[in-house]
């Protein structure tokens, strides 16, 4: 695509060295004409998430800003903020031009459609 595309992934890569990388949780399910990936990425929005497809590897990267509250000190912690990264291999049956990604309330939804030729076709049987 564009040559000078500054993406969230580039930003992630630049500062990766000293940030924790978390593996986000996913649900992957099949629908009639494709597949859906739901990825939990709290703290991430459309500006800080990146989905890339390289050959048949779908990579999800995201970045959650560290929480900081002026005048408060962190007393107890159960989760950390940092980068998210996870990659999946997708089959050739997926239509690479029809991948949709939406992020809402910290959940990334990726919809993959089956390529036309890979769709199951019902064969009409006629009585002979």
């Amino acid at each position: 695509m564009e040559k000078e595309r500054i993406t969230a992934a580039t930003r992630v890569n630049e500062e990766k060295q000293n940030r924790k990388v978390y593996v986000p949780k996913v649900d992957i399910y099949e629908t009639g004409d494709g597949m859906v990936l739901l990825v939990d990425m709290p703290g991430v929005d459309e500006k800080t998430v990146d989905v890339t497809l390289n050959r048949n590897v779908l990579t999800i990267q995201g970045r959650a800003e560290a929480e900081k509250f002026e005048g408060y000190s962190l007393a107890y912690t159960e989760y950390g903020t940092g980068d998210y990264q996870r990659a999946f291999t997708i089959s050739d049956e997926i239509d690479r031009d029809k991948i949709e990604a939406v992020v809402k309330n910290g959940v990334l939804k990726i919809t993959l459609h089956k390529a036309e030729q890979a769709k199951a076709r019902k064969i009409a049987i006629t009585a002979g």
Binding site: V23, D27, I28, D40, P42, L74, A75, Y76, N105
Partner: protein, 142 residues
């Protein structure tokens, strides 16, 4: 489950560590968390800020209640459009009902609690009850 932030329970600490490891390696192990949602707590003399990781929640189905020094976050995480899901390849995300109660080291002023939900993170600002705030005692010299 009531968890006081002042007591360091070694068992909880181990569970926390385990959860942390699960998060780091959740691609390899099957993640399982006892406590949901995971929270961070920030304190100062005026009160506390609690943040909770709650991605994909419908705020209509989220309840926050305050009782004395405890705050309870409960709700349901429902899967949207369940129909049409033919088969799962992976199912790691938490679904269903959850409830968590946290105990703070002071009485919360329920009237002034603020809650915000953004990018799947819930932020609660819990001010300390006025009468419970530390008082400075003036020392008179005789």
């Amino acid at each position: 489950m009531i968890s006081s932030i002042w007591q360091v329970d070694p068992f909880r600490e181990v569970m926390r560590l385990r959860n942390e490891m699960n998060r780091l390696f959740s691609g390899f192990t099957y993640p399982f968390e006892e406590v949901y949602p995971a929270v961070n707590i920030w304190l100062n003399e005026e009160g506390a800020i609690v943040t909770a990781e709650l991605p994909g929640i419908d705020i209509e189905k989220l309840d926050i209640s305050i009782l004395n020094d405890t705050v309870t976050i409960s709700g349901t995480r429902e899967e949207e459009e369940k129909k049409g899901r033919e088969s799962y390849h992976r199912k790691e995300r938490m679904a269903g009902k959850f409830s968590r109660t946290l105990q703070l080291p002071f009485k919360i002023n329920g009237e002034k609690v603020e809650a915000r939900y953004e990018k799947g993170v819930l932020k609660l600002i819990l001010p300390r009850e006025e009468s419970e705030k530390p008082k400075k005692i003036a020392i008179k010299s005789s």
